[in-house]
Symmetry: C2
Subunit: 272 residues, 2 copies
């Protein structure tokens, strides 16, 4: 049972930390080796880390791919190319397996089911590079934008920032996941998706260090003026992101990847 | 008595807020019109704001120039050009006045005495664009790098980040202000400058909103997990930056601009 996530964004936005946090957060802690922490890839290659986590009794092979050094050059034109290539390479692998005569009963699925795009917490609006990249990414995969290091925003700044980002996405016709127009969704699902769409981009905070708060041990960031708790919904929306991709929408993310994005790729490839 | 500061860095790094904070902080509050808040320039022009502040009984015309939209394009090659042009234009203005036959007794000084460069709090190291810009800026003006929005770093992350930045500056031979080798500095000044050099880049936080902390009204940022106090040395180094540019090193910043940077410009211009 594989689930593949890709994290995309500039260096220093907390991607590697969030990867570790996803593995360390409450449910996953039981199965993972907590000492095995993933460091930011130092090279320009795309690197993956894979762990088995247990979610409500279901074992899941969670693979997260990191994209180091994205958008950090003086000239970032085409910085999306290695990412697009990685996503399409997985479709190509799957297609070759699918059309081969001696194909395996169960095709190993390395397709990217969900692409988390990290927006820097500037407080203003999307940058040109964010728009350029997301515009292209949504055409080949499910994209969920998040506000990186959201602890650098006050609640008011966060709300205003989200409004502006949502306007930017709409103005540029960037359709992020979930797209609320799945004809086969029932009333409840559509209602849920509408609520999620209002909250996107999720304001996330990541951390693998534990601190004592009110007698409990929590994941968080300790500063001179307080402790930011990763799993406290009053502090950030990590829990919302995690529940959506690992629990409530995991199946849908895989289905949309297989039935929409992959099919589109397969269609184009078999036509040419 | 003019003192001209320029703030340089990407959008959303808190430059406008820091400009307002410099005007609002304890000493300045007496003279400024607190309602007159400066907004981020929406256009691509370079904009200045000027206020008279009172520092230890001395009235000072503090002018701060903001550089909007710096480095936010997909391709940022040559993003330093408008900034370099602005700095050199002020030298040109001064030179024309200086060499004119009917020149005024006191030449109005619009030369940039101090350039505050904002480094995003990535926690990693300097980005290529930071190195490219600072390399050029230090050749024409006094540059003081700061870590923007430093409340997004823990104390440990901040220390490690500063170490790496200092190494990057050294590796790229970027000599920021103060340069500790002024032959005419006395023992005390050299010692002081050495201490400052260890602290640079200053980890700053800016804010113009006031909150109650332990019965006092302080400038700060209010979050769910605590209040970041701008003028609390345990929280950030805003006070260090402010004291350095407005108090202890104001005279030196003006002198180095006039006797080193401007003289170099004048030399080149009169030779050609
Ligand atoms: N303020 C804040 N800092 C974070 C957060 N997550 C990670 N960091 C810090 O940001 C720095 C860079 O994080 P890293 O995960 O290596 O970023 P990456 O380059 O995107 O992989 C490190 O010092 C982290 O401790 C967060 O949610 N908030
Ligand atoms: N976390 C944090 N946010 C800040 C700080 N200073 C300003 N901000 C916020 O960052 C956003 C952008 O600030 P602004 O001053 O307009 O940035 P500019 O584009 O560089 O001029 C606003 O929401 C500010 O309230 C700071 O020191 N720390």
């Amino acid at each position: 049972f594989e689930f593949n996530v890709m994290v995309v964004g500039g260096a220093g936005l907390g991607k590697s930390t969030l990867v570790n946090t996803l593995f360390k957060s409450k449910v996953s802690r039981r199965v993972c080796h907590p000492e095995e922490e993933y460091k930011t890839p130092k090279t320009i290659e795309i690197k993956s880390i894979s762990h088995v986590i247990e979610e409500k009794g279901i074992r899941l092979q969670l693979t997260i791919t990191d994209t180091p050094g994205f958008g950090d050059h003086v000239d970032n034109s085409k910085c999306w190319q290695p990412i697009m290539r990685h996503i399409n390479d997985q479709y190509e692998k799957y297609l070759n397996e699918e059309i081969s005569i001696k194909r395996r009963k169960r095709i190993p699925d390395t397709r990217v089911h969900c692409c988390i795009y990290f927006i820097p917490p500037s407080g203003h609006s999307l940058r040109p590079v964010d728009i350029e990249v997301m515009k292209r990414l949504v055409q080949v995969a499910n994209v969920i934008p998040v506000i990186a290091k959201s602890d650098s925003l006050t609640e008011e700044e966060r709300e205003a920032f989200k409004q502006r980002i949502q306007k930017d996405l709409e103005a540029n016709e960037i359709r992020v996941y979930p797209t609320v127009d799945n004809a086969d969704n029932d009333e409840d699902e559509l209602g849920n998706n509408a609520k999620i769409k209002e909250r996107i981009p999720f304001a996330v905070v990541g951390s693998t260090s534990q601190h004592q708060v009110a007698g409990k041990s929590v994941l968080g960031r300790k500063t001179r003026w307080g402790i930011v708790e990763v799993e406290n919904e009053a502090h950030c929306e990590f829990i919302h992101l995690r529940n959506m991709i690992i629990r409530t929408h995991l199946q849908d993310l895989k289905e949309v990847t297989a039935q929409v994005h992959y099919e589109l790729y397969r269609h184009k490839r078999l036509e040419t």
